[in-house]
Every structure is written in C-alpha cells, then in structure tokens.
Amino acid sequence: MASSTAACDTGPGPEAMASLSRHWAEAPTLRNWFATVDHKRIGRRYLVTAGVFFGLAGASAVALRTQLAGPEAGILSAWEYNQLFTMHGTAMIFLFSTPMLFGFGNFLVPLMIGARDMAFPRLNAFGYWVFLFAGLFMWASVPAGAAPDGGWFAYVPLTDERNSPGLHLDVYTLGLLFLGVSTTAGAINFIVTALKLRAPGMSLNRVPIFVWAVVATSFMVLFALPVLNLDNVLLFLDRRFDTRFFDPGRGGNVLLWQHLFWIFGHPDVYIIVMPALGIVSAVLPVFCRRGIVGYPLIVFSIVAIAIISFGVWVHHMFATGLPQLSYGFFSAASTIITIPSGLQIFAWLATMLTGRIVVRVPFLFVVGFLVTFVVGGVTGVMFALTAFDQQITDTYFVVAHFHYVLFGGAVFPILAGLYYWLPKLTGRMAGERLGRWAFGLVFVGMNLTFLPMHVSGLLGMPRRVYTYPGGLGWDPWNLLATVGAYVLAVGLLLVVAGVIHALRRGEPAPDDPWGGDSLEWATSSPPKPYNFPVIPRVHSLHPVWDPRTAESTGLGADGDRILAEGRGTLLTSELDGRYERAVRMPQETLKPLVAALGLLIVFLGLLLAGYWVAAAGAALVVVTLGAWLWPPRQTPEEADPAVGGGAV
C-alpha cells in the first residue's frame, strides 16, 4: 500500500540527471511561454481556460435562473435570454466539459503510463491554441450581440436563414467546426500516446482505468465528431449559399439535421462522462485503501458504452413521428446501455464496501457524484421507454435529467480530480476545511437547483422559455431552483478560492500525499520537465504499490530507460507493452501557435464573408504546416535511434 517507487534512492547518476534537465527544461522566456510543447503546461492551460469558460457559462446560468425566479420577470428580454441559454449549453458541452477532461488527460496520461510527453507534442500545443481561439471566437459574439440563439442543438428549420437571420448561427456552425479541429487533434494524440508510449511491461491488463477511459473517449470523438462537422457544414452552406439540404420544400430533409446531430450528440454525452468516470475509478480506490473491484468488468463497461452509445441516438427523436418499430430497435439499445453504466456503480460500491474508507475532500466529491449520477441514470432509463419519453419530451424534466447526468456525472468527478491531483498539478496541498465547505454547498446547491425541475417539468413547464405566466403551479419550484443556483455558485466560488489559497499559501505537497497506486505518484510534485528520471518497468496494475516497479527505477535501472543523451522517450508494442525502441521528442516551437492563428483568420474570414481573408489564413496554415513537417537536418549522431531518430 505504501508508496514504494518514490522511496527508491538509487537510479541515474548526477550527470544523467543534469543531462536530462538540460535537454528537457524550457528556458523561462516569453517566447517559450507561447512555444511550449510540455504536456504538463498545456494540460494546466486546458484546465484554466476551460475553467474560465465554465465561469462564463455558469454566470449565464445564474442570469437565466434570476430571470426565471418568478413569473413574468423582465430582467432579460427574450432576445438576450435565447443567446444566453444557447451559449450556456454550447459552452458547457463544447468549451468546458470535454476540454476540461482533455486537460486532465493531457497532464495525466503520459504520467500514468510512464512516458515523458504526449506522442505528438507540437500537435498537442496546436490543439490547445485552437481550443482557446475557438472559445474566444464564440464568446466574443456575446458582447457583439451576435451569439448563437437556437439552443445548443440548433434544430432546423428554426436555425435556417429565414427564421434566424444574422450571424448568430454562423458563429455556432463555424465555431464548432473550428473547435472540432482541436478535439480531433487531441483525440488522435491520446490514442497514439496510450498505444505506443506506455512504459515497458504495461500490457493492456495493467493500464489504469482513467487511461482506458480517455482512449475510449478519443475513439468516440474520432467516429462522432465528423458527423457533427458534416451537419454544421451543411447548415452553413444552407444559410450562406442557399443550398437545400434541410429544406423539405426543395428536396431537403428537416430530420436530417436531427439524425446527424444526435448520431454525434448521444455519444457526446458519454464523451463527456466517460473520462469523468475514469477519474472516479482513479480516486475512489485510493481513499478505500484497496484496488478497484472488478477491473476487467470496468474495462468491459467502458468499451461497451463506447460502442453501444452510437446505436441509441433515435431516443432523442421519439417525438418526431418515425415508425414505432424503428423506435423499438433504439429503445432496446438505450435500455441495454444502462447495464454497463450500472456495473461501474456496483464496482465502486463494492470497492467502498470492502475497503477501509478515508474521508477526504476528493472522496466526498466522489460520493456526491455517486448519488447524483444514479438519480440522473434512473431518469435516463425512463427516457429509453418511448411512451414515457413522448409524454415529457421538451419539458423541464429533461433539463433536470441531463443536469443530473452532466453535473453529477462530470462536474463532481472533475472537482474530485481537481482536489486529488492539485498536489501533482501545483506542488501545493489544498485546505481540507474550505474544501469540505465547498463540497457541502455544491452538493446542496446542485440538488436544490435541479431536483425541483423534475416537478415543474412533470407539471408541464416547457424548456427554453424566457418567462412563464403565474398560477400554473410552477412558481415555487422555479424559485427553489433559483435559490439553489445561487447556493451552487457560492460553492463553486469557494472551490476557486480554495485553489487560489493553495497556490499562494498551501502546504508543499509530498510526491505521493494520498498513497496512490498509479505512476503519476511515482514522480515529484510537480513533476520535472522529463517526468521520470528513469522510465519505469511495470509489473502489475498497481505499480506504485509494487516494489518490483520501484526496483526498476533504482538499482535495476537500465540505460535504455534513462535516455539521458537527448530528449527521448520509449516506444513499446500496442498490446503487451514490449520494448521496441527509443524516439526523439521535438523541442518547443511557435509553429503550432502560428498555425492556430491562421485557422482563426480562416474562420473569421468565413464568418464575415471575407473569403479572400479566409484564403490568406488558409495559405498561412499550409505554409506553417509545410515548415512544421519539413524533415529536420540531423547529424548521424542525432539520428541515432538510441537518442531517437526522427521526432515523433
């Protein structure tokens, strides 16, 4: 149980350590701030940027709830309300949840698998810059009064040019296409990293659950996102160039949008939740002082959800008048997919039941997750049944359900992960007392906000209304939800205060403050630029609890796992983690930033119909990519595979 790897005191000598520092450290200059390719710095930036977008989307939600606190309120106009609720949903789904979890993945996946960086560090930096610019592109539309206003799923014909004139929906389609470049690049990077850069000995049955979850999510992104991109391209063409893809009067099909959107949209629920479930599987066992129960079944559950989630999309369309037999096929899959999700819940409960629980702040957030996610899961099963779904579709019951799934299933695990890995991210411990207060307020506020929505929905309150008449029985439930939103906001502000306090005055964190079992706890807090002085050899599912792994980085350290003479890491085989060869990793560079700026120019040009500007941006991207991919000049020594010929 005790951390053993970090305790080993012999390993590479001082010369090797100095050489590693020389090759991996980035000089603290302004240029390197923009040029960094270090996965840890990029991961932290993802977390902070996604956190800022979460703050903006959360502030939008507080404004929406203030408007809905009582009937006939006039705080927001319908025009403002439509933009704010659309940006709230769009930002929470696309600009917060997935990028936040990609941030955890960026920081943690290389550390958990014993690698020195992501497989494609420059692509990683490019992905971050594209995410930042796409987020700014979309949020800048709010003060300009041109924010998307058709709901986060932008159904046609509401969103066609005739019914939604102006730039609002062009910001939506182009913004999501822009962001999709980042998400796709990140997904490819995670897959290659997890398949090729695992430490020797880490066969598939020894891969941490969080890494399994990130890889499964990445595969889902690669299959789901092209469909959304196609949908957005078609809508942009319909709006801008009067094509007819969604116009039934001219041979198009209005349901085509919904089919394409939900082929992406339902897997996206799991794209958001799956890495969060991986966080739970990483955090919970450590505070139960035992390994996770049912590792193979949790892996099965992840794989099953990743596949089956692509066959359930029509349950979002049960009210569109398709043949009932078609509903039957999708209802079957929608019911069955709850089994692997439930399996994970029982595995976590069994882990708690058979473990020795230590109640700390990350554990509290995990418990909050379990309670709220199960509530969201139960209402989710109800939606799989066509008859029930048709009764309550488009009511506040749906809003309550998906907030229990997404807040319960993603935000609670994200907060658990934040408190759990804060020592590794920052080298500082968070205050326990402030964290417990934050948990209490977030848990109470979340339930006070979203539980009453079940009732107002069952009483018939439709979603996406900017106000409502009094006397329909909805008033007290709306008031309760608004009070809850403010309590929740205070709780989340306490989380932010706790992080800032930890950064300024937190106690220095030891390498392994919780007694964790995965490899990120086998290195310093925060990790050195090269992550591990010696790339460990893995002998079990719990390498830090396994003395043989510690021995592999101390007395048993081989030169071919130190790689001190260059910026190198190891390639291993995909299935069994067998040693293949060393590879050289690239240095910091400004090219990813320039390429992302080029893409920003492309999308701004398309938005404002400045097509020559867009062409100039595209030229900048092409030239930058050409320079990026140009083979480096290497001496024979530099091309030596021991140091690593050819940057990955």
Partner: protein, 132 residues
C-alpha cells in the same frame, strides 16, 4: 504466449480472439443499420415490401442473421475465456493476462449485443413495421 506457436497458428488465434471480442457488436451494428434502414426507408416510400419480399421477412432476416453471428462470437469468447486463464505467475506471461482480459471483455460484449438483437426481434414480432 505467441512465441511458441507457428506464425500461421498465431495469426489464426489472434483473429479468432478479435472475433470473440468484436464479433457480437459488429453483428449488432449490422442488425441496427439493416433493420432500421430497411424499415424506415421502405415505410417512408409507402411500400410494405422490399423488391417483392415482405417487409416483415426482411426485418426478420436482419434480426436472425446478426443474432447467429453474435451467438457464434459468444461461444468463441467463452472458449477463449476458459482457455486463456493466466497462471499464478501471470507476470511471466503478460500476453496471457492481456488475452484473458480481452476474452472477458468480449464475452460480456457478446451477451449485450445478443440481448439487443433479441429485443429488437421482439419489437419486430409485436409491432407492425410501418405503424406510426
């Protein structure tokens, strides 16, 4: 695990293992796409047959053939699961441990896939194909 086997045997064993893992969900994918699209497109066109073949029969084929595929994959995965149990010193042969994990994953994937196909078949039995 594979080093002691002739290459052809190792290749066949590997393919069989991947069939055991993914055969069921591939069958379910075929079932979903075929049954749904046959039903939806034929009804949308206002027909109750597919090139002269009764629609109910076409949907039944889109249930039964994938069900047979999923059941076969389930049998293969059970056999793989039973024969690939790692010994007490699993660390010495991590390929065996990895293959056993894949067999477990495949076994349960096949069970779910077969269940989804059967439930789709039940829907085809009780609902007229074009009822809205």
């Amino acid at each position: 695990m594979n080093q002691r086997l002739p290459p052809r045997t190792a290749l066949f064993g590997g393919l069989l293992l991947w069939f055991a893992v993914l055969g069921g969900v591939l069958s379910w994918t075929v079932h979903s796409l075929a049954a749904w699209s046959i039903d939806e497109l034929t009804c949308e066109a206002g027909h109750d047959n597919l090139a002269g073949f009764p629609l109910t029969g076409a949907v039944a084929l889109a249930v039964l053939l994938p069900a047979a595929g999923a059941a076969t994959a389930l049998v293969v995965s059970v056999l793989a699961w039973r024969r690939l149990r790692p010994g007490p010193r699993a660390d010495d042969d991590r390929s065996l441990g990895r293959a056993h994990l894949l067999a477990v994953v495949g076994l349960w994937l096949n069970v779910l896939a077969l269940a989804m196909i059967v439930l789709g078949g039940v829907a085809a039995l009780v609902l007229p194909p074009c009822q809205r």
